[in-house]
Every structure is written in C-alpha cells, then in structure tokens.
C-alpha cells in the first residue's frame, strides 16, 4: 500500500463521520459540517463561559459593599447575563445538534424569575414544603429563613451538634395563602392600613384571624407528617416534643426581628399544624408590621418560613455573645447560663450565671457571677412547659464548668469566623452533657465598633508587613492564627483541630478536608476561579491564592494576620482588624442589596457539581451557573467524542509523525498546530507548533520513559523482561497503529492505542487560565482485570499527587485538571506523555498490589533524575 492510500485508509477507519450530521443533516457528502466549524463553536463556548464566570464574579462583587450601584445596574447586568447565557445555549445547541434542547426551557424559566424579581414581586421558588436540616444548604436560606439555614449550616458545614429538625419553607406559606384564598383579602386590609383607614392593631387583628381560621392544605399536611415521622425516628421511646418558631426572612442576618414573632416550646406532633398557623399569624403582629414599615420592608417581601426542631430536654441552657455589646473594646465573650430551658433567660425574665471570657487564645475566664437559680423551665408531661423548683444544692452551683466554658467559647468563635460577624448564640446542654447550638444570629453592634476602631490605619502601622498585594483574594475577610505549612498528605493529618492558617504551595483536592478547620488560606500558586477558591468561599475562609511567596516567607507556628480585604499579610495578631471588619456598614439593609442578592440566587449557586450525579442534566439546572457548568462539561465531552469526518474534500490533510518512538501518529491540523513549512505528508516533532502536543511528545520522549534507556537495576531488568514478554510485533508500528491527533495551536485531541490499551488525551493550553484544561483517559490492557486495575490505580495515584481529579472505575482511569496556568499545564501534559510511555505494558508485571507502590517509587525516582521536570 502506498503511503497516501495508507493514510486515507487509517483516517477513514477512525475518523468516520460526525454521527448526527451523517444521520440528520447530511444529504450525501456535500452538506457535511467541517470539524473546524465544530471547533469554532467549541471555542465560542469556552469564551462565553469565561465571560459568564467573569460577569458572575463582577456582579457578586457588588455585594461586598465597596461599590455604589443602583437599580439600573441590577437591571442592565441581569440582562447582559441573560444574553450571554442565551448565546452560550445557542452555540451549544449547534455543537450538540440540539440534543439538550430542554436547556431552552430551563433558561426561560430562570429568566422569567429574574424578570419577576426586577419588577418587584417576591418569587417563591418551587421548593419542597419541608426541608430536613441535613439537606438544607445556604442556597435555600431564602425559602427556609435565616434561623433554619444558619442552624443547618452549623450542622452541615461546621459539623456542630444542633437539634434534629426541618424547615417549613415559604412555599408552604404561599400554598396556605392560596388554598384559603387569603392573599387578596390580606392585601385589602394592608392597603387600608397603609392608607390610614385602619389602625395597625385593627389590621393586625383582622389578618391574624383570617390565618387562624385557615386550613392547612392536604399536600402541605402530608409534608408535615413526613417531616415529623422523620423526627420521631430520632426520639427514643419518649413522647416527641417540638420547638416551633419563626425563621422569618431577614431574621438572624441583617435584620433582627428578634422577639417580633411567636415561638412555642414542647409542642406535640399532633398539634403541630395549629402552632404552625400561630407562628404564621405572628407575621402580622402589630409590632412586626410597624417594624417592617419603619425599616422600609415591602409587604411583598413577607413570607414566613418556620423552624421545627426537636426540643432538647435541657439540663442547662443559655446565651453567648461573642463580643460585649456594651463594651466591645474589652474583647471578651459573654456567656450566660441557667438550669433547664433557656427561654426565660433569653426573654430577660430571669438572670443567669454569667461568665466573661477572653477572646484571646487560652480563653481565660475574667469574671464569674454565679447567681441563685431558684426555678428552671422544663417541658411538661402535658404539652408546653412549666417552672419547677431547682434542688437547693443546685441553686447556687455554676451551670458550666471551666472546661465547658472553654468548649463553648471555641465553638462560638468558630461560628463567628464562619459568619464573619459577632454572634448571638443560644446553647443547651442535654441530660447526657452534650452541647447543642439552638441558633446563631448576628449581634448588631456595628455602630459601637466603628467608634472604637475609627483609626485602623494607625493601628496596623505598628505591625510589620510580611508581604502585601501578592496574588488574588478569593475570599475576603480577616484571618488571625498560627501558620501551618502543608507539604504532604502526612502534614494534613497533623493539621490542628483548633484551626490554623493553612499555607501551601498549590491547592490540591486532598486539602479540601481541612479547609473548614482553616482560619485562613494562602497558596503560592492557584487561580481565583479554581476549585480551591470555590471551596474557600463555601466555607467562608479568608483566602489569597497565587502569592508566589507564601511558603517561602512564612514559617510553621508563626502568628500572622491575613487582611484579605486589603491584601496584606502582617506579623502578629491584630484583633482590631477583625473588629474593624465587623464594623463595616451593613449595606445589606438596602432594598437594592436584597434585590441583587435574590437575583444572584438565580444566577450563581452551583448545584451541578458532580458530572456523574443523577441531577447532571438540563432538568437539574436551577441557575445560570448550573447551565454554564453543564454546557462546559458536555461541550468538552462532545468534542472529545467527535468522530472526525472524512476529510476527502477538505484542504486539511492528515500527516504522519516521524519520530524515534514508534507512535505511528497521524495528525490533522485545524489551525496553527503545525509550522507553515511542515511537510504535506510527513512531519517531524520540530514541525509541531501545537503547545499541548509539543509538551506531550516531550514527555513521551523523556529519558527512561519508553524503556529505551537504562533504568535502575531492579527496574531495568523488570522492563527488559517485559519487552521480552511482548514480542517485537506487539510494539511495532503496524500493530499499534490507529493513532490520531487533531491539533491546533492551543488544542490537542489525541487518541492513542499503544500495546493493548487505549488512551485519550484532550488538552487546551492558552494564556487564559479559565480556558485551560487537560483530560486523560486510560483503559484496556492485555492481562486480567485485576492487574489492569492495578495499573489504572498506579496512574491515578501519581496524577492525583500532581493535582489531577482522578476517577478510577475498574481498569478505566479518568484524570482531569482545569483552570491552571499555561506553564503548569504544560508540565501536566509533559507528565501525561511520560505516563503514557512509562505504563504502556506495565500491567503485565503488576502481579500484586504492592507493585502499585513499587512503581510509584520507581516513577518518582525517574522524575528526580530528570531534573527540572518537577512541578
């Protein structure tokens, strides 16, 4: 066979035609859409995806308080975002030939919600009526209310013990109003009230009566029963007692409606519905209505979410303020405690013991005031609660031991760090001495604080700056603590439980598990839109990435302050800085902020995290971010799976790579992948200008990788035995064959069959970090599945160590990495090349699991020998 025929044959065999074009669009050959067109759409998708992520960050930034924006901005940026998403979807529809057309509907629905918000209507998302705390995330705070979502976050994010419970969402409220035809009637009364035709008391009374007479809709009642049955499984044999309280919007965050709404203790499940209605009715208490009027809340913003928690049969209960509201400059926590339930203490009916504790580590108790506690509120055997006399001996005993005070202090400060504001926390201690956090909300003392830290610049001047303005802030805030440098997985095990500042060269996925313990994070390299950034934001840990110098300039155990507002790292602890941060104006007060936040909820939360999860489909997309994520993932996948069409009429010839290593690789250049003077049929490595390809081939050719060069004795003999096992026929070009690469200047899509396994490498390397990615898929082999599995594991472990996300299923290994700098990604491609070379026949000798580690060591040794290849 002459060469051109051979080329044609191979190309025909593997390239085939793009399936949907051959089945749907194409009549015979003339209307084929060239790969270049597909690729152009793909690049548009990448570019749009970038713009979308940028705009999302830009809009979210406006909530930081640094910016002055107005309604017009909210409108125009929401519309711009909608336009970008629409373009993204339309490009994607072309790329996938409308396979995911459902995205159009999802998009329209989200867009409609945004328009509704912009027109001033409160959009109540179609969530469940009831959400158990274990499934409640911050993204639901709007429907579940502040109290519920704070408590759920403490449980799910910080791992604190909170009562079992569930949120009754605003959707249940809406359904209740609709079922009983209340909206219209309530509005008429409100209208009369605002017009001055009804007193607040009269209007309140009328609305409350309407609610009281209402019936709980059957499907809502069903959801209640489900929630309650769930709770019953947690209560040991005893009768289940509930705490039913308001979790009203705005409460516990920027607005304290504390005490405005009713709450009920020790409610029995069979009476839950009536108490639910009573909490709803308290939305329209005269004082709450007045308060909303004063604070400029629109009545349209009112929708009552309710919390239902298992009542903790408390031995003792109390309250923690993480700062003294009267004299915050003392930098102490105030803890109060009493026997039994905390309600009388919270409402101020009784005094309790008080403990004044230093915020500084060590947390010594400055003052202690133990009062006589004659009575305790306890759950009654019948419904409700009663005061019971406290045993004489216990009346004057302290409610908390020193250790318990310390434990509560550390817990409270971790909550404060997480929410970034001083906290007002309710706690209970059950009969078995387990602590529960019942609720946590912001302590509103901003005005006090601003007066004590009005000249922050002169305070920080006293502290030496270690470095500043390096890298990018990914999560704002102030972090104070001791440096803990993580170089290896073993270091990770030693990460202090009480928290520290995590300092590391580059964030790798395995670090995720200590993020929530970290007070702050600094990395030498990394991208502000990378994986680590989203985790840092998720756990609200002040973080700066890409500082270049962090691991160099900081030493283990050193105390530092990270100012991730201004991007400065100071030596020493500057408590004043975090107080200063607390004192910033509460811009969340303003309607525009609430509006923007609500709109952002349709835009930025990411629900589609895992491409393997069941919800990874158009239907699972709830936000614009989800759509963008879905499209990005599927677009890459589509391009990966494209079978390149017959190039017969094309001006792009497939060319054969001539190389010392017998790869037998055919290359199709779709733009800038080969130098202009490259041969029309045969090219050499020197002709290639495709960046990923160049690096990949360098790796394939790395000394020692393809077994052409001597290795360490053990390993060398190993390899030679392997070479013998495989006859020369197996590694000859003919048998290997069928290797193809589609390349451009920045992109490579490489399909390789070496020996008996199949690899696919897809990579895109450019100056734009956000566009960069590499995908490496490896499977097949000649030995039994167990040995092949070992090889997959070996490859996976090495790649994982190098920062790839790795997924191994049997003998299939898929490694992904994205959004890293051009230089780092070049090194990753080099590594992949080397791995491909090094492992092509390894499974033959992978006779037991120990070999995984043996080969890992060998591979690392080889890496060390090839200096300058480390990353």
């Amino acid at each position: 066979m002459d060469n051109s025929n051979k080329v044609k044959n191979i190309v025909n065999k593997i390239i085939g035609k793009i399936p949907f074009f051959s089945t749907r669009l194409q009549d015979k050959h003339d209307r084929e859409i060239a790969f270049t067109t597909i690729f152009a759409r793909f690049q548009d998708i990448l570019e749009l995806n970038n713009q979308i992520l940028d705009l999302m960050a830009t809009i979210s930034n406006k909530l930081s308080g640094d910016y002055i924006f107005d309604r017009n901005y909210i409108e125009s940026s929401s519309h711009l975002m909608g336009d970008l998403i629409a373009k993204l979807i339309s490009n994607f529809n072309i790329l996938t030939h409308g396979k995911y057309r459902q995205l159009n509907n999802v998009f329209r629905k989200i867009n409609r919600d945004i328009e509704k918000e912009l027109s001033g209507k409160l959009v109540i998302p179609e969530t469940d009526y009831v959400i158990p705390y274990r499934s409640l995330t911050r993204d639901f705070s709007e429907v579940a209310g502040g109290k519920n979502s704070n408590v759920a976050e403490l449980k799910n994010q910080l791992g604190l013990t909170v009562p079992h419970g569930f949120a009754i969402t605003t959707r249940a409220f809406k359904s209740f109003l609709e079922y009983n035809n209340l909206s219209e009637r309530v509005n008429i009364i409100l209208h009369a009230w605002r017009g001055g035709d009804k007193t607040t008391e009269k209007a309140s009374e009328e609305i409350r009566e309407l609610i009281d007479k209402g019936t709980i809709p059957p499907d809502v009642q069903k959801a209640f029963n489900w929630g309650l049955d769930n709770l019953k499984t947690y209560s040991d044999d005893k009768k289940l007692g509930l705490a039913v309280r308001s979790s009203a919007l705005g409460e516990d965050s920027e607005h304290s409606f504390a005490g405005q709404y009713d709450s009920f203790l020790n409610v029995f499940p069979e009476n839950f519905g009536n108490h639910y209605k009573a909490v709803l009715a308290s939305t329209y208490s005269a004082s709450a209505m007045e308060y909303r009027l004063q604070k400029n809340f629109s009545e349209q913003e009112v929708a009552m979410p309710v919390a239902c928690q298992m009542l903790i049969n408390a031995r003792a209960s109390g309250v923690i303020y993480t700062l003294d509201p009267v004299s915050p400059e003392r930098r102490v926590l105030l803890i109060t405690g009493t026997w039994g339930l905390g309600a009388p203490l919270v409402s101020g009916k009784i005094y309790g013991d008080s403990f004044v504790v230093l915020r500084k580590p060590g947390h010594s108790i400055l003052e202690l005031d133990i009062v006589r506690k004659r009575e305790a509120l306890v759950p009654d055997e019948k419904e409700g609660c009663v005061f019971k006399e406290v045993e004489r001996e216990a009346q004057t005993r302290a409610t908390l031991s020193e250790n318990q005070v310390k434990f509560l202090t550390e817990t409270a400060l971790s909550i404060e760090r997480y929410f970034k504001k001083p906290q007002d926390i309710e706690w209970s201690l059950d009969q078995n001495n387990n602590f529960y956090i019942l609720q946590a909300r912001q302590l509103n003392i901003a005005s006090k604080l601003s007066s004590i830290v009005n000249d922050i610049s002169s305070v920080v001047q006293k502290y030496p700056v270690i470095f500043s303005k390096r890298g990018a802030i990914v999560q704002k805030g102030i972090a104070i603590g001791k440096v803990f440098v993580v170089n290896s997985e073993e270091d990770l095990e030693k990460f202090p439980n009480e928290g520290a500042i995590l300092v590391t060269h580059q964030f790798s996925p395995i670090l995720s598990r200590v993020v929530k313990k970290a007070h702050g994070i600094l990395t030498d390299i990394g991208s502000p839109t990378g994986h680590m950034a989203s985790i840092a934001r998720e756990f609200s840990v002040p973080s700066i990435v890409n500082t270049k110098v962090a691991t160099n300039l900081l030493t283990n155990g050193e105390e530092i302050t990270i100012d991730a507002e201004d991007n400065v790292i100071y030596k020493g602890r500057i408590e004043e800085l975090s107080l200063y941060e607390f004192s910033h104006d509460n811009v969340g007060e303003y309607y525009e902020y609430r509006l923007l936040r609500r709109i952002l909820k349709r835009i930025s939360p990411l629900n589609l995290v895992d491409p393997k999860a069941n919800n990874f489909n158009p239907r699972g997309c709830e936000t614009f971010h989800d759509i963008a994520r879905f499209i990005h993932e599927k677009a890459v996948k589509t391009l990966r799976e494209v079978k390149f069409y017959n190039q017969r009429n094309s001006d792009i010839p497939a060319r054969e790579l001539q190389s010392t290593i017998p790869l037998d690789l055919m290359m199709i250049d779709i733009g800038g992948g080969l130098k202009e003077n490259a041969g029309k049929r045969k090219v050499t490595e020197n002709d290639i200008s495709c960046l990923p390809m160049v690096e990949f081939l360098k790796g394939v050719n790395a000394p020692g990788a393809w077994d052409n060069e001597p290795m360490s004795v053990d390993f060398g003999s190993f390899m030679s035995s392997m070479t013998r096992t495989f006859s020369t026929g197996a590694s000859s070009p003919k048998a290997i064959g069928q290797n193809l690469a589609v390349i451009s200047e920045e992109y490579a899509n490489i399909s390789l069959r070496l020996g008996y396994h199949f690899s696919m490498i897809v990579a895109y390397i450019s100056e734009k970090i956000n566009n960069n990615y590499a995908y490496f898929r490896f499977n097949g082999g000649v030995t039994d599945p167990v040995r092949r599995g070992r090889r997959a594991k070996f490859i996976g472990r090495i790649l994982e160590k190098k920062g790839f996300y790795v997924d191994i299923r049997k003998d299939l290994m898929v490694a992904r990495i994205k959004k890293i700098s051009k230089e780092s990604l070049k090194r990753k491609l080099y590594l992949i090349g080397k791995m491909v070379s090094f492992t092509r026949q390894l499974d033959v000798k992978m006779v037991d699991d120990d070999h995984i580690n043996l080969f890992m060591r060998e591979f690392e040794k080889m890496e060390l020998k090839n200096t300058g290849e480390q990353d």
């Binding site: 002055i68 924006f69 107005d70």
Partner: protein
C-alpha cells in the same frame, strides 16, 4: 479644615440607594453633605447656596443632569462638578468635560474612587482660593 469651614457637597441622584450610601461615607471623610433625589429641589437649593462640589447623575427620570450641571456652572463657576452615571458614553463624557465638569465616574464605582475624585476637586478649589 475646621468645623465651620467644611467643604460643602450637594449630591443629586434619583436613586435613593446612591444617596443613602454616599451621604454617610462623605460625612465620615469630613464633608458637609446635602442630598436630593428630585432635581427640582436641587435646582432650588443651588439658587440659594453656592456649593463647593456638586455630584450629579446625568440621566434621571423626568429631568436631565446635563441641564442641572449647566445651571450650576453658570451660577457658580467655582463649583466643581463630578458626574456619576450608569449610561457612560464617550459623547456624554466629552460633553460633560466641555461644560467644565471636573470628573466623570461610571456607575457602578467604588466608594474609594469617588472619595478620591472629591479630594482632588477639593485640592483644586483650595489652590484656586490661595
């Protein structure tokens, strides 16, 4: 600058949020601030008092910021005007500068950027006075 002699600033914007945020921030920086969201009221006010600095939006419902700043500059040429607008175009910027506007900020802007602009305007006022 002593208390009697604070630099006076008038802010006109038909979006309350802008006024709500600018007033305390400028006051904290030591200025005497009056805010208006109806341009008719602002017209009346500048007829009664010459402000050191005027900060105005350009495009507002029912009125034209350009007309307002023209009026201000005509009555009190020494007043420095800073334009803040969400509809920044080359043309509006050019026209503003032709009318003698001191600075031009596109919304959204950072609070710090506005304070900087105000400080620069203040320096110029003081230079001219001396």
């Amino acid at each position: 600058m002593d208390k009697q002699n604070k630099t006076s600033i008038l802010v006109l914007d038909d979006e309350q949020i802008v006024l709500k945020r600018l007033k305390p921030a400028l006051e904290r920086s030591g200025y005497k601030v009056e805010t208006f969201f109806r341009s008719a009221d602002a017209f009346d006010r500048v007829d009664g008092k010459n402000f050191d600095i005027v900060i105005t939006d350009l495009k507002m419902e029912g009125s034209d910021g350009m007309a307002f700043l023209t009026h201000v500059k005509k009555r009190s040429p020494k007043t420095e005007v800073i334009v803040i607008t969400g509809f920044a175009t080359m043309d509006t910027a050019k026209e503003s500068f032709k009318k003698g506007v001191f600075d031009f900020l596109a919304k959204p802007f950072k609070l710090g950027e506005l304070i900087d602009a105000v400080k620069k305007a203040e320096t110029r006022i003081n230079d001219i006075r001396q």
